[in-house]
Each structure stands twice: as structure tokens, then as C-alpha cells.
Symmetry: C4
Subunit: 365 residues, 4 copies
């Protein structure tokens, strides 16, 4: 690990370094969650309820971060979670992220509402497995077109998001003004949307346009569009995990959208064990939400996640220095994970099992 010009020397410096780079509205866009941001905080707090139980003298001369994800081996058990509008954070936008991820042999997932077209992301970054996050579009043909475009340019899986039938109540964004996301171009076409901003009221009835009418059968329809494996993102219960399996999902991302959708939703780490139990060997389970440091990754993997998604920190890193910033972040996070695994006496991802963690109770005042 060498010194860097990217503005952060350690993982602990990253958030502050990014804060210095971004305007207030952009910062609110990146950091803000829904409502009172209870779930944003809960995601982080959940990690503090677990502690690590290291193992001594375990011959850690070689620590292997290689992580098999849907049959591909990546160089780390973490991936770039899909986040919108990366071009508003840094002019190179998603291409910077894609290049850094490919160089680091790290999986990356790109959002339907990327600033750059998915063809640019695929074309301007080296060939490397990456996934396409799919928001269902009002018109299924538009959904279909997105899937076909992603497949055509080499994306290797489709990650269908379930938790945005409508945008969450994002107080912080509303307070700082909505100019940002109105101003940012949607790389995948001006008609592409995340979801309706809000329902239309008719007395006590609030109507939401398609695809808010989606049921689990939509998963079958999307799956039929492509030979690519389909994953479901936004699962927080065993019941939904079982539905995802029934409808052919190869992977499940335990996620609450970084606390940006339903304020008060359970922390993803709290949801993880029941989803892992429900899924068994029928699919792979991932988690995003609140992952910041090597120890967080150890905890999530010990509780059964195969890999974890990184959201806001990627945007922070992007803000500090574009591709170089993200590259630096991967370098530091991998190194910290390797160091943590070595001290924990775990030589490979497979050795990170349930015996590594325990719950901790709260201390009085």
C-alpha cells in the first residue's frame, strides 16, 4: 500500500475526502436515505452487534481472496453495488468504475439509470464479467430492450430490483432540491425510469403506474428474455427468498436499497441469516447495506453471504479521483480484508464460516 494522491490514506479517511469534493446537493444525493434515515443507520448498527472470534497459528502464509460468484472466480468477495448517476459524481462516470473493477478483477453491477449508456460502459472498459441491474420499465418492451442490450454487449447477469415500485420518501434529497437528478442525463435513454416518483391520489386510493403492478410472475417473464442468469435484489425475508427460488433466481441480493426506500426496513445483516437458511443451496446469497470495512465483510460472509455489495463507498472513491480513486479503494479494501483474514486465521473465503462470529449485547449507558 503506497501513499496516494487520491485524497485518502486509509479507508477511514475516504468519506471525509469525498465530502470535500462534492457540493452539498450531491452529497445529499449520495448520503441521503428515506425518511429519518433509520434504516441507513440500522444497516451500520447491525454490524456492531457482532464480534469476531479469531483463530491463532493457522498458517496464513497465503491468504486467498478468490471468490466464486455464479461460477466465476473474482479476486474479492465484494462487488460494486449498482448506484445511479455516477456521472454526476465524476465526469468519467460508470466507465471509471468499470475500468477500476476490471483491473482489480472485482465484479461490478451497473444501474439501469447509469449516466452513460450500458454500451459505453461495456465498450470503454476492458472485457470482464459485469452485471446489469434492471429496473422494470412501464412498458415491458422497454424492459426487454434493456435486457437485450445488456446481453448484447456482454453483461453476464441480470439483477432485477424488487424494492422500487415507487421512489422512497427521500427527505434529504427533497430538502436540497431535486435539480441534480433532473439534470443528469440517463445514459440508457431519456424514457428509462427508476420508478414513478410518487403515486397519484384518488381519494383514499393511490395509483401507481406499471410496473408497480408486477407480481412474482414478472420474474418468469424477465427470465424468459435471456440466457443470462437472473438475480433478485431487494429481498429481506425468507418468504421472498423462497419466491425468488421458485421463480428461477440464481442469486439473491439481501438489500434495502441502502436505506433509500422504506425507512424503518430491517437492517440487511439482520435479514441475512433467515434468507440464507431459506435458500440453502438453491441459489447464492449476497448482501449490501452498511458494508464499509474488512471486518464488515468477514461478518457478512460468516453469516452466509457469498459476497457483499459496496454502494456509497464506491461513490466516495469515485468522487476523490475517478478511476484512480476507485482503484485505490479496491486496493485498500482488499488489503484490509487480507490482513483481517490473516489475523482471524482464515486462509480462504471458504474458511469464513459461522464460527467466526458471535452476537454482542449492549452495554448500559
Amino acid at each position: 500500500v503506497t501513499d496516494s494522491d487520491e485524497g485518502f490514506r486509509t479507508l477511514g479517511d475516504l468519506e471525509a475526502a469525498a465530502r470535500r469534493k462534492l457540493t452539498d446537493p450531491l452529497w445529499d444525493l449520495v448520503e441521503g436515505g428515506a425518511g429519518e434515515e433509520r434504516t441507513v443507520e440500522a444497516n451500520r448498527a447491525a454490524f456492531r452487534r457482532y464480534a469476531l472470534r479469531p483463530r491463532a497459528f493457522a498458517d496464513v502464509s497465503s491468504v486467498d481472496l478468490a471468490a466464486p460468484i455464479l461460477g466465476t472466480s473474482f479476486d474479492a468477495p465484494f462487488f460494486v453495488a449498482p448506484t445511479a448517476y455516477q456521472g454526476s459524481i465524476h465526469p468519467d462516470g460508470e466507465v471509471a468504475t468499470a475500468r477500476a473493477a476490471a483491473a482489480a478483477h472485482v465484479l461490478s453491477v451497473f444501474s439501469t439509470v447509469s449516466t452513460l449508456p450500458l454500451e459505453r460502459i461495456a465498450g470503454d472498459a476492458p472485457a470482464f464479467p459485469r452485471w446489469f441491474q434492471l429496473y422494470l420499465q412501464p412498458d415491458f418492451s422497454a424492459t426487454e430492450e434493456l435486457v437485450r442490450r445488456a446481453e448484447a454487449v456482454g453483461f453476464t447477469a441480470i439483477v432485477l430490483t424488487t424494492d422500487v415500485p415507487v421512489l422512497g420518501s427521500r427527505d434529504r434529497q427533497y430538502r436540497s432540491g431535486l435539480a441534480i437528478d433532473r439534470a443528469v442525463p440517463f445514459g440508457n435513454g431519456s424514457k428509462v425510469i427508476i420508478a414513478a416518483r410518487h403515486p397519484t391520489a384518488h381519494g383514499a386510493t393511490y395509483r401507481l403506474p406499471p410496473p408497480a403492478d408486477a407480481t412474482w410472475e414478472i420474474v418468469d417473464r424477465v427470465r424468459a428474455l435471456t440466457r443470462l442468469p437472473l438475480l433478485i435484489k431487494g429481498v429481506l425475508t425468507a418468504a421472498d427468498a423462497r419466491q425468488a427460488i421458485v421463480h428461477g433466481a440464481k442469486g439473491i441480493v439481501v438489500s434495502n436499497h441502502g436505506g433509500r426506500q422504506l425507512d424503518g426496513a430491517r437492517a440487511t445483516l439482520d435479514a441475512l441469516p433467515e434468507v440464507v437458511d431459506a435458500v440453502g443451496t438453491h441459489a447464492e446469497v449476497y448482501l449490501d447495506g452498511g458494508v464499509r470495512r474488512g471486518s464488515d465483510i468477514l461478518i457478512a460472509l460468516a453469516l452466509g453471504a457469498r459476497a457483499v455489495g459496496i454502494g456509497r463507498p464506491i461513490l466516495w472513491a469515485l468522487a476523490t479521483g475517478g478511476e484512480a480513486g476507485v482503484a485505490r479503494y479496491f486496493e485498500l479494501l482488499k488489503m484490509e480484508l487480507a490482513i483481517s483474514m490473516a489475523i482471524a486465521g482464515r486462509r480462504s473465503i471458504a474458511e469464513i464460516d459461522r464460527t467466526l462470529v458471535e452476537r454482542v449485547s449492549a452495554a448500559p449507558s
Copy 2:
């Protein structure tokens, strides 16, 4: 949701917007609770002990907030909790609230100690179901007169408050001076009271004038005055809930008077499950205390409340812009509730059941 001149853009802005409008003594009157305000805080903290378990792909193209309350369908499962002296907050006082509630098809409850006479509230707002909150008066004939007046002008239920045999020890109000509530006119007559301010000491004995001598039989007496359904407000235990049922209550409001009466009283959300269990199908159960956001409503309803009362936020909204402020508040709260229901995968109030919530344990330090 459009921008607004009422001074708050989101629900999260409301309290601060109101603070800017009110003088210090008025603010203390609105915010203050009894003693050290442990119960005020406890009401809020109780909601943080629950998290939400959303359901995906549930066809939320239509989300229905319609809430049946005592056989009437309202457009939301929340109502205006009774609060005193609304005229001190805004010159239009209770009429502003009544108009906004009627326009929003939201139930409202008005206090015995309203600034305006109940006839004005009923007469200057459109015809719409609203309830009258009743403080027992020292002389039962005065109680009777209030009930008859309320019935005469169309109030549709009587909500009898149980938890004010005497005013609580409201430190914050006492510190900022008592001038406010002395100066405010009592709309329903200069002899109408909430309760004695404090007992009269005779050695170790502290005497309280009627109606502090009330027993549960008073409920029968009040019930006999009117054909309107009677509700009991201020219940915090299963035992009292059973008493209310025995004495003919059609509804029970789990309430600790917003933490303004007995400092240290249990949080209403902590009391709700045992009351719901005790009541079964014999009456409807409501809750007030600490409800601020859409997620709070989901939690309370999931734990068995049929609807929730909103206290301080109505006063905040009234302060920001009178009727328009309250209207704006209803608009935002309904919208947030609809959005939260959609993301939670619940299409109607009936679908908000116990499976939506779980308890969360505290994190270390």
C-alpha cells in the same frame, strides 16, 4: 406533491418550521411533557425497537388507505388527536384543523378545552364525522351539557379521557410561565376545565375535587347521556382495557397523553399489544404518542392498532400555515404512507398485519 409555501418541504422539516413560527412559551406549551419528559422520549424510542419486513412484487398498482373506524370509512388510518388551545397556535384555531381534516377525509377529534366553541368547529367546517374529546367536569351536569352540545351539532362519538384526574407536573410549561394557558379563552365556556391544577394538601393527604373521584361507573353514566358511541382514551394496560369493554366502550385509545401526564408511564407502543390481546373483537383499539412518519403508522397498525392519533405534528402544521399547513401535512403523510405501503407490499390497511414487523435489539455503544 408540489412545493409549498407552508414552510416545510418534507415531513422531516415540519418540526423546525413550526419552531420558527412559535414563541418560546408557546413552543414549550406544545412540546413540553411531564417531569423529565421520559415518557415523551419513550414514546418515540419504542418505535425504534421495531423494524419492517417488506414484501416484494405484490402488485401495488393501487394502494388503498381507506380505514374503517367505528364503521365509517376514512381516507387514512390516522386521525387528529385532541389537543388543547389550538387558537393559541394559529388564529383560525380548531376551525382550520377541522376544515383541513374534512377536506382530507380524515377523522379529527376536538378537545373539551378548544379555543373555539364546539358549535363553531362544527359550523364553520364542512359536515364530516368528527369526535368530541370529553373531560369530566366537576359538576356532572356540566359534563352532560358538553355531551349534549356535541351531539346536537353533529359530533359522531365521545372520547372520554381517563388520565387527567389532575394536571401532570409539566416542568417545561412552569418554567416558561403559565401566562399562555391562562390567557387563552376556553371556547366551551369559562367554567370548563381540564382538571385541577394540583391537589390541596392537608398533612399527608392530598385532596382532589371531582371528577377525580370518578370510578369506572362514570363511564356508564356518560354512556347513558347519549346515543353516540363512547370511547375511552388513556388506557395503558389490559386490565383497564377490560374495564372499558365491560363498561360499554366501543373504542379504546392507548395513550399516555403524549407524555404530559405521568412521567415514566410506559410507551404507548409498548402497551399496545397487551391491550389488543385483551380487547379482541370487543372494541377497536387506537394509539397515540410518538407517531411522526409513515413507518410509525405501519408499525402501530401491524401491532394491532386500527388507527393512530397525531398530536404535536398537527400543532406544528397549524403553526406553519393554519388550514393550509394542516392540509399540506395530511397530503405529505398520506403520500408517505402510501409510498411506504407500496414498498412494503401492502395494498390495503387490512394487509398491514403482524408479519410486517419484528423487534430489534440494541447495539453496543
Copy 3:
């Protein structure tokens, strides 16, 4: 409750009012506990783990605070806990406290290390039951003399303190200088001591002079000195409570010396239930430590205390206005207790039972 010149309008104002009156070293003397003051905080935090379950419509036209303590009826279930050096807080010292207590028909307990002689306390205040707190003296004849003097001037019980074989490590006092307690005259004689300030080291052995050699037999010896009932103060476990009973104690004060002796000692409220269970009907159980408001008294009594001792708040009140300050404090605390009992639906001390309280769990972050 009338306005007052004593500098505090409510119980919540009292501490700050006292702070303004006292110099820094005196404040540290009053407030300071042992070590990191964990036990000082724990005493208070323990009350927050309980909430109150009020009862409605209980005919509270008359609320009786009368509290039988060792067969005498006082006007409140609280008493003045013994505190040292009251003359350093106000020139009238213990006489001010004794007068206010007698006027309020409240039990008071005076310390061996009072600033005024116990004869002055008894002589300058009206005849009224009051207890003498006894520190064992190095020479048993000095202990005997104190007991005989107390009995001679009409003290009605002896409260033997167990938890000061040596002074605790009172960081805050040491930091602000020890001048205060050196300068204050000991009313009961210049040779009277609380305890050795610290042991004398001889290698690994730390010697403490008598009475640190006391065993439970000392209780028998003290009891034999007097016809007055003997109480034991400083009990925190069932085992010690049983010892106290075996050795003839008529009462037990669950106390950790206000957190001034063993930092880390359990909160008194946490100790109370096991002591109450162990003692049964063999003696009366009292508690001091952290009692500030009417709700605290309700909680302690509900958990089995017959009465509670008030320590620091009496000194605060004394600082604000001597006898008038203490009188005002009693007035406010009794009134708040009566109000709280009325709202809780408890008409007498006997009605404050275990059903009034419940434990509350902590909320996340």
C-alpha cells in the same frame, strides 16, 4: 404550589439552581462519586429500565402519602438521607434541614460527621422523629458515646453504615482539592471520623485501622448499647440482608453511598428486589441512590422499598435557600408524588405494588 424566591420553580430546575450557588470545590464535594462515577450513573440509569403502568378511574379524590416507617407515620415515603458537612453548603447546616423536615413531617437522618453537634440538631429543631447515622469509630467507646448522645437528645433510631471501612477513591474531590473537608468542623467532636482516608501499605498488605476489622458481631455490640431500633445501611445483596436480620436489624437501607464508595457497585434499584425477597417481613427495606422525582419514588416503592432516602437533592435545596429551600423541595416533591399517584390510580402508599412497574428494554442506537 406558589412561586418561590428559592431559585427553583420546578424539581427540574433544582440542580442548576444549586450549581449557581456553590463554588467549584463544593460542587465537586456534593456531586462527586468514586472513581469514574460509574455507580453514580448506574443508580440513575436503573430507574430508566422501569416504566409505570397506571390505573384509570380509581377514585383519587384523596391521595394519602402517609408512610409508616418503623411504626411511626410520616407525611411522605421519602426521607432525608444522611449527608456529611451540611454546614459547608449553607451556614444553618443540619439545623435548616432538621427544621424543614420536621415542619414537613418528613423523616430525616443525620450523619455522624455533621457540621453541627447532634445536640444542636435536636435542640434547635422542633421535636420530631429523626434518626442518627452512625459511623463506627476506631475506639468502641467513641462509638458508644455517639450512640448514647443520640439517644439522650431524642434521636429515634440508629442507622449503622457498613460500606465505609475506608474512604472510596473520590477522584473528583481529590482533583478539586481536599481543603473543604479539612476545613469543615466536625460537630460531633474533632476526633470523630468517617473512616481512614486510605490504608497503609506494607508490601502487598494494606492495613486499615479499626473499625475496618468489624465483622457482623459489631452489630450485636452496637445493638446492645441502646434501646433504639438499629438499621443497617449499605446493603446490596440478599446475603448481607440476611446477616442484618440475624443480627437484629429492624431496617435495611439498600445503598451504595450514592456511588461515592465502590465505583462499579451495582445500582441500588438493581439490588432492591433480591433484598426485599430475602428480608420478607423480618425488617423494613429502604433505598437511596438516584432518587430524584416522584416517578422514581413510585418505582422504588413498587419494587418493595418502604421509603426512599434523598441525598444530593437535599444538599441542592439547602444550597438554594437553607431551611426555606429544603421546605420548598419537600413541598414540590410531595406534590409531584401526590399528582403521580393520582394519575397512576394509587390512593395510598399501600396501593403502590409490583403491578405498577415493568422492565423496559433498550432501543437500538
Copy 4:
């Protein structure tokens, strides 16, 4: 306890006094932990989850701190935990510590990476039992040489550290610059190391040089080098404790390296009971991490530790006044421990048993 020129009057003043003496980078070196310093905080928070149950009238005229550790009687049940680079804190470095410890009849443990050679430590301080903390060296012959040198000059035990196959991610040190530990001379030879600073990445594989390849058999090899008893430091689980016993350890130090290695590792106090249970009478168990005050020592001993190591406070004391500072610290800590034992009614270390402590639950908000 007399006043002192060492800059701290009480144990509670020590940290601030040290802060005033040290530069920012040195302070970060002393205080800093790994990552977000969760484990640094957890070590302290764990003590707050226990409270003490004192015993009254136990004849504490003589309190004996004598603590048998590996068959030698010391004057206190605490010891100097090994810390690196003491010469950077005070010019007299480890010799100051060794002299103060010998004078106080307190066990001290010196680090492989002392600023002074172990021969100087042994030679310039009076003959007294002290232990040598051993970091395995890349070349086993270098490890062997260190052991032989320690034995030759009279160190009485070897404490083999297990938790540093690589340095932890010490954000705070990295932020304040690494100049300090590069500039400090390594007393035991310029080639002596703690561990590799970080692994070398080869794709997903992170390589660590020897001795990161150590397995538990290394313990047998080290043990074979010397007739001195061997202890294992850095154990946090029953499984590792059993390994240590199987491989001949005479003592086990429950330690997480003061939170400087694996951020998120469990608190040592949380690990202690299971280690004590696993070890039984096969070895002695010690603990370090978060011990600051007399009460902490009581808690750790009550949970089964035979003695506790003191880390950062020794460096604080060294900073305030070299040997005199450490001497003063020992004086205060012994005195506080003796006082605490006296009030707790425990006359000897043997009397500090499980009945002295209880767990405490957290309070709401």
C-alpha cells in the same frame, strides 16, 4: 498517597496528563487501534456490562494484594503488558518501566521490539522476575537467539504472541504518518521485526512471509528452546486455549492486542469466561485490554483471570514522568485496588470470586 509532581493526582487524570506530554503522532501511536477502533471501544464497554456485589463487615483490617503468578508471589494481581518502543515515550524507555515495576514488586513483560536491548532492561533494573514477550522471527534461528538472550539475562518466562501474523490496519497511525516507528531504534537488533507490515498481493492471493506460516507446532519448537515456562498471548476462544494447553503452555493471556490488530475482534472480557472454563486447572489465565481502574481488576479476577495486564496506562505514566510516573501509577492503582477490595469485603485475591460480579442490562436511550 501524597501529592505528586508527575502531573496526575488521580488515576482519572492520567490519560489527560499524558496527552499534554506527547506530540500528536506519538499520541496516535499510543492510543490508536485497528480500523474504526471498534475493538478498542469494545474492550472498555465490556467492563460496563458487569457490576460489583460487595460484602459488608468482612474484617478488612488487612487486605492482601499478593498475587501468585506462575508460582511467584507479586505484590499486585496486575502486570505491565508488553508494549513496543517505550523509548519513544520517554528517554529512559523500558528501563524506567522495569525499575518502577521491580520497586513495586510488580511483574513486567517486555516486548521483542523494545527500544533498549533486553540485556539493558535486565541489567539496569534490579533483579526481579520479568517476562519476555516473543514475536516469532522470519528465521527461526533469530527467534531462538531472542529466547536464549532473554533466558541468559534472567527473564523468567517467555510470552509468545499469536495475533500478529501481519500488522493490523492501523488507520490512526497511518494518518499521522509512519515516521515514528521507522525512527525508533529496535533495541534487540535492526533485523528484529514485529511482523510484515502487509501482505504482497498476487492477484487474489496475498502472501505473507514467515513466520506467518506458523502452526501450533511452532509452540513445541519454541518450548524446546528453553527451560523457561512458555505462555501464549492473543487467545480469544476456548478452542485456541485448548490448543495452547495441548502444546504445553503454562499460561494464557486473553488479549486482542489492545484492539490494534483485528478490528471487530471480541472484547477480551467477553472471551475470558469461555477460556477460563476450557483451561480449568491446566494453566493460568490472564487478560489484557481495557483495564484502567481498580474495579476493572475486580471484575476480571472475579471472572477467572489470575492477573491482568496493563498496556496504554503504563505508557501514559511513562510519558508523565518516566520511572517516577510509572511508580506513581503503581502506587495509585494498588491503593485503589486495596480500597476497592476493602469496600467489597474481599481480603485477598483468592476471595475475589464469581459471586462478586453480575451482568447488567442496557437502559433505554
